[in-house]
């Protein structure tokens, strides 16, 4: 770009230093079968949530919030790309093979991240739960015996730290803002609460991987995450929902109606042109 100049240091831009999905791919790091299946779970969670949040852009309550949600969606998409790239290394597949050419029953996301955006209150409720969960998860995954997972967690941890703050700020404001916002925030929490439990279910192969210090055992996250969620919710003058966990908490998609729609939209173009490069 030429034709304009600025000595203004506030517009000095740079790429910065952090691992990229492309670097991960060319690093030759290769996951074994079990680790790949674990990475797939983490990647699918981030991908589904990024897909949902991405749909907010141009629809947020205020321009500043379009940008905030965009940043969070971009972070999550980045995490998904890391995890899917790493998972794919076990099967000779790329991130796009996994994102675009798997069917519903092959995804391993939790239903929480598949929930529709609803109103801003519901989206913030979903964000609150997922980011508190992810923050706790990555804070332990940084110590994984698997170097690649640890490296991804290190990058993701710093980012979800901000996501968690963003969600908590909004929960406080919506909880303590107006009567309507309080009602909507509470309704948002009630709406997604049935899907909290699934985050903490020890499904195959996490148990074995956790024993080898590669994965974080989901059930071990339950107490600290729930404790912190309860605190934020109560401090915002809201009530922790008493909604029972929904049956079918096994990430298989057998009990999700949203997943099919998400994939239909996300994959439509790629599947119309199998084998094409974009």
């Amino acid at each position: 770009m030429s034709g304009f100049t600025s000595q203004d240091s506030a517009t000095r831009i740079s790429v910065g230093q952090a691992i990229t999905p492309e670097e991960l791919r060319s690093s030759g790091a290769s996951a074994d079968e079990a680790t790949a299946r674990y990475a797939l779970m983490l990647g699918d969670d981030s991908l589904m949530l990024a897909q949902r949040l991405g749909a907010w852009i141009s629809r947020a309550p205020e321009l500043e919030e379009d940008i905030a949600l965009g940043n969070i969606a971009l972070d999550l998409l980045g995490h998904a790309r890391f995890f899917l790239t790493y998972a794919g290394s076990a099967w000779g597949k790329t991130e796009d093979d996994l994102a675009y050419f798997r069917d519903e029953e092959e995804f391993r996301s939790v239903r929480l991240v598949e929930q529709d955006n609803g109103d801003f209150g519901k989206t913030i409720a979903r964000q609150l739960i997922f980011s508190f969960y992810a923050r706790e998860l990555y804070s332990r995954l940084v110590d994984s015996a698997d170097e690649t997972l640890a490296a991804i967690a290190d990058k993701a941890l710093k980012e979800v730290d901000y996501h968690q703050d963003h969600a908590a700020q909004w929960v406080r404001r919506l909880g303590g803002g107006t009567e309507e916002s309080h009602r909507r925030m509470q309704a948002g929490l009630e709406d997604v609460w049935a899907y909290v439990e699934e985050l903490f279910v020890d499904v195959d192969p996490t148990t074995q991987l956790a024993e080898a210090d590669i994965a974080v055992l989901p059930s071990s996250l339950r107490e600290p995450v729930m404790q912190r969620l309860r605190t934020v919710i109560e401090e915002a003058g809201l009530t922790v929902p008493e909604v029972k966990g929904a049956y079918g908490a096994d990430r298989t998609g057998r009990f999700s109606e949203h997943r099919g729609y998400i994939l239909a939209e996300m994959q439509v173009l790629a599947r119309q042109h199998p084998g094409a490069t974009w």
Binding site: M1, G3, F4, S6, D8, T11, I13, P21, L47, A50, Q51, G54, A55, I57, S58, R59, A60, P61, E62, L63, E64, E65, D66, I67, G70, N71, A73, L74, L77, G78, A80, R81, L84, E95, D96, A99, Y100, D119, F120, R172, R173, L174, G176, G177, T178, E180, S181, R184, E265, M266, V268, L269, A270, H273, G275, A276, T277, W278
Partner: protein, 346 residues
């Protein structure tokens, strides 16, 4: 409050103490000095800053120009935003998300610049919401295919950048500074669009078709983004004299055509204009007459998606109202509480 309003208020408050003639004389003096200083700044191609005296017409023209530009960024999020959930690879999804998000940011920079002229963002929102404000007509066309995302990046952003780079030197300081930031960020927008088209035109037959079709549809409207021909653009002269427009519509259009012809060749795509050819004598490409009837029809609200774009915008504003209110109410409560605590501890 604008500097001018502040000044008028200051004069008003002294009304009781001073005779009217004295007041009028001082106001006239102030205006004369301000006017001379303004003329000087413009003549020397220097920058006018928010608190400077400026002619009313300059202020109004700028507010109109800057806010229309901001509205274009905001409405411009829609056609591409519509593809975020369907982008055909994760890399493209990330790029597109970052790009559409940038547009929100650019709208925001521009609204901020306009706000320094004494028009609040809410007033500008109101103009857009009620359908009174104009924005670039190109965004009333649909982004039907993935290749359209490429064509928008290459042609629409390309035209926008051609228009914007000279405006980094606009006479109004905050506008110029917003443009610098925008141009820096937008340099990736055009490239990513070109790259999408390049990948398509070197892909399968269906992809190549898709790319050519998108270029066919966006070429004309992109050229029209520079506005009507110079002889039908009555306000241009004044804006150029004020350095808030640095080249005429036709000059910029020519510059853009000259730029994209070789780029299209590198893509292996054709531009849908049988009259497009190099003119040795002029040292420029000649190009055919554009469909100005269509242009004015779209400007007047009859474009394919005028209604839909506005409805989308309004829905977002309406559905977000309770959130904005809640945050404002929360801040007010916090303030009140802080004041109370301060009183108690005093």
């Amino acid at each position: 409050m604008s500097a001018q309003q502040a000044h008028l208020q200051a004069v008003g408050s002294q009304a009781a103490a001073e005779p009217i003639t004295e007041q009028a004389r001082r106001a006239a003096d102030e205006a004369r000095v301000g006017w001379e200083r303004f003329q000087e700044l413009i003549a020397e191609d220097k920058r006018v800053e928010p608190r400077d005296w400026m002619p009313d017409h300059y202020r109004k023209t700028l507010v109109r120009q800057v806010s229309q530009h901001a509205h274009s960024e905001i409405i411009g999020m829609q056609p591409e935003g519509n593809w975020i959930t369907r982008a055909p690879s994760l890399k493209r999804k990330a790029v597109l998300m970052a790009k559409v998000q940038d547009e929100a940011g650019h709208g925001l920079y521009l609204y901020s610049a306009a706000e320094t002229l004494g028009t609040s963002r809410d007033e500008m929102y109101q103009q857009l919401y009620t359908g009174k404000a104009k924005y670039s007509s190109i965004f009333n066309y649909p982004a039907r295919t993935w290749a359209d995302v490429g064509a928008i990046g290459w042609l629409v952003d390309g035209a926008a950048i051609t228009n914007q780079v000279p405006l980094c030197r606009a006479s109004y300081g905050p506008y110029g500074r917003a443009m610098v930031r925008i141009c820096k960020e937008e340099s990736f927008h055009q490239r990513q669009g070109w790259e999408i088209l390049y990948t398509l035109s070197h892909g399968t037959e269906a992809q190549k078709q898709m790319a050519q079709d998108a270029v066919d549809r966006f070429y004309g409207p992109a050229l029209q983004m520079f506005g009507p021909p110079d002889d039908e653009s009555p306000n241009s002269q004044q804006s150029m004299a004020w350095n808030i427009k640095r080249f005429s519509n036709d000059e910029l259009r020519q510059r853009f055509v000259d730029m994209i012809v070789p780029q299209a060749e590198a893509l292996g795509l054709t531009l849908p204009d049988p009259d497009l050819k190099w003119n040795e004598e002029r040292g420029h490409y000649d190009f055919g007459e554009l469909d100005w009837d269509e242009f004015f029809s779209v400007v007047k609200g009859n474009g394919p998606l005028n209604h839909q774009r506005l409805a989308h915008y309004r829905r977002a504003r309406d559905e977000g109202a309770w959130v904005r209110e809640a945050a404002a109410a929360y801040a007010a409560k916090q303030d009140a509480q802080a004041r109370e605590t301060a009183l108690l501890s005093a």
